[in-house]
């Protein structure tokens, strides 16, 4: 599981670029979408499930690791599934004038 020290600056490079990209993406979002934006980005933070799966999936890992990783999968799944569904439920309600007229 050793990491090539030359990789470390590269990981930081990715981190810094992604932070800057995130700031640029979110800065101009109108305030009316702040709640869905938050719950949507919240769901993305459930990406830690990938870490949980990788931890659980190593050959001959001790039972304690399997248990911890399974718990992590459970909580991350609540975050992911709940986050995306609740965001969709909210966004479904955001309608402009035209759409509303079409339905009535």
């Amino acid at each position: 599981m050793d990491l090539d020290p030359a990789m470390i600056p590269l990981l930081f490079f990715i981190f810094v670029l992604a932070m800057l990209l995130g700031i640029e993406l979110i800065r101009k979002v109108p305030s009316q979408l702040h709640t869905p934006l938050m719950s949507g980005s919240n769901a993305v933070s459930g990406i830690t499930i990938v870490g949980a799966l990788i931890a659980a999936g190593r050959q001959d890992s001790p039972t304690a690791v399997t248990v911890l990783a399974t718990l992590a999968v459970t909580f991350a799944m609540i975050n992911v599934v709940g986050g995306y569904l609740v965001t969709d439920r909210m966004l479904k309600m955001f309608k402009g004038k035209d759409k509303r007229r079409g339905e009535q």
Binding site: V29, Q32, T35, S39, T48, V50, T66, A72, F94
Partner: protein, 470 residues
């Protein structure tokens, strides 16, 4: 074909989908598709991670993922729109807990294998566990405050900043001790010490999360929710550094950055610094209150309020947390529809920090089928407030407090507010003359052009609607 390469490409694809998903979430017409795009990215990332497992413990994974999905789906379906802030807070906390568990299990497997682990990885494990722990317990307290389980007032005690500093120092000290160890190169007795150090860090992080959130008042919750959102992203990002996985680093920092931007927007909307929000105990009994205002409030009956509204050519509704508590969004829409039929121009002015989370009012009004074009921000309404006939304040208080403009001694001084006092008439729907969550008196109630319509917001608006029907 090289499978590692294919997986790498899949992770990049997932990251790109997250970026585009977030971008599309920035416009009301594409937001729903953006959420779907982001979810597809998540699916790709999960499937790729599954394919990377050398020893797939299906029973465990299916059980964990199944239970998690079921809870998440049920909660998302059943939650009321008014309870959205605490729901988002809770989901957020679970994300933080998951990152904590990932960090801990990574440590455990290295510890058990007496693997050689570099300083870099140890630091990353420390940071994952720390941010994950603070996110989890902090979010639980925020949930408790928003759901009304824990008091919404800031819980303060003497020397709390000293206690917090002491805990922080203890965390840094155990962190340094923890990171200085090289697993696999120390004797057994010492590796026990490392393990204990990490458990200690987890406990301290959980305590820090509770203590740093409990002293923050209900009205400042939009900031706290944003900040915790950011933490949960950073925790996932730190976990990415532990396992050297780019998709975790990219998506974690996207969330971290978005939370920070929102935190900044919220602080600006209150004209306060983040440090002031976190440490001042704003809204507690001991905090500054500003001048007390005296005068005669002018109550108005529903009949008279109806006559004022009926004659108005333009009306601006200013909702606040009180509208959420009273669940009044549907009757408000009904009243607005009747006004529109009557030839009145209706708008809703939403202050960025109205309610308990960013955009809280927008979600409630969307639930009530209000087209989003009618929702405007204070800077769009304030310049023309003088020609607005009636401003109707529904359960908002601090965000319409003219003391922010007029009284330098007020704690709200300098905060951008909705200038409802400049409208020709201002009708305030309120249960009593009590000050708002920030505990600051509101001179608006005593202005000559203000009429107080006392009572529950929902009942009051319903009475206005029935007046219109007659």
């Amino acid at each position: 074909m090289n499978l590692e390469l294919v997986r790498g490409i899949c992770y990049i694809a997932a990251s790109i989908l997250f970026v585009f998903g977030l971008k599309m979430l920035g416009s009301p017409t594409t937001a729903r598709r953006g959420n779907l795009v982001s979810a597809i990215g998540m699916l790709i990332a999960v499937v790729t991670a599954l394919s990377a497992m050398t020893d797939i413990k299906w029973a465990w994974i299916i059980a964990g993922a199944g239970i998690g999905s079921a809870i998440g789906a049920l909660a998302a379906r059943l939650v009321k729109m008014t309870a959205m802030p605490q729901m988002v807070g809770l989901f957020n906390g679970f994300g933080g807990l998951a990152s904590l568990l990932v960090g801990f299990s990574e440590f455990h497997s290295r510890w058990a294998d007496a693997d050689t682990t570099q300083l870099f990885t140890m630091v990353a494990i420390f940071l994952t566990v720390l941010t994950g722990g603070v996110t989890f317990s902090g979010s639980l307290v925020a949930y408790g405050k928003l759901a009304g389980v824990v008091t919404g007032k800031p819980v303060l005690y003497k020397g709390r900043n000293t206690v917090n500093t002491a805990i922080l120092i203890a965390i840094v000290a155990s962190g340094i001790f923890f990171c200085a160890q090289k697993l696999g190169q120390v004797e057994n007795a010492e590796t026990q010490g490392v393990y204990i150090a990490l458990v200690g860090i987890v406990v301290l992080a959980l305590i820090l999360g509770v203590l740093s959130t409990i002293g923050i008042g209900g009205a400042d919750m939009p900031v706290v929710i944003c900040l915790l959102n950011s933490y949960s992203g950073l925790a996932a990002c730190a976990a990415g550094f532990v396992i050297n996985n780019n998709v975790l680093i990219v998506s974690g920092s996207l969330v971290g950055a978005s939370g920070l931007v929102l935190t900044n927007i919220m602080c600006k909307a209150m004209n306060r610094s983040l440090a002031n929000v976190l440490f001042s105990g704003f809204g507690s009994a001991t905090a500054a209150k500003g001048a007390a205002y005296e005068g005669q409030a002018r109550p108005v009956s529903a009949e008279d309020a109806y006559l004022i509204l009926e004659a108005a050519r333009s009306v601006v509704f200013v909702p606040g947390y009180g509208m959420a508590v009273a669940q009044a969004q549907h009757v408000v829409r009904e009243l607005a529809d009747m006004l529109t039929e009557n030839g009145t121009e209706v708008k809703y002015c939403i202050h960025p920090v109205a309610g308990r989370m960013p955009g809280h009012m927008n979600v409630l009004l969307a639930e009530a089928n209000v087209p989003y074009e009618l929702l405007v921000e204070p800077q769009d309404v304030n310049p023309t407030m003088k020609i607005v006939d009636v401003a109707v304040v529904i359960g908002a208080n601090d965000v319409v407090n003219p003391a922010a403009r007029e009284d330098q001694s007020s704690p709200l001084w300098g905060m951008p507010v909705v200038d409802v006092d400049r409208a020709r008439t201002c009708i305030v729907l309120k249960r009593s003359l009590n000050p708002g969550f920030a505990g600051v008196d509101n001179p608006l109630f005593f202005k000559d052009n203000t009429r107080m319509l006392f009572g529950d917001a929902k009942a009051s608006v319903a009475r206005l609607v029935s007046e219109f029907k007659h």
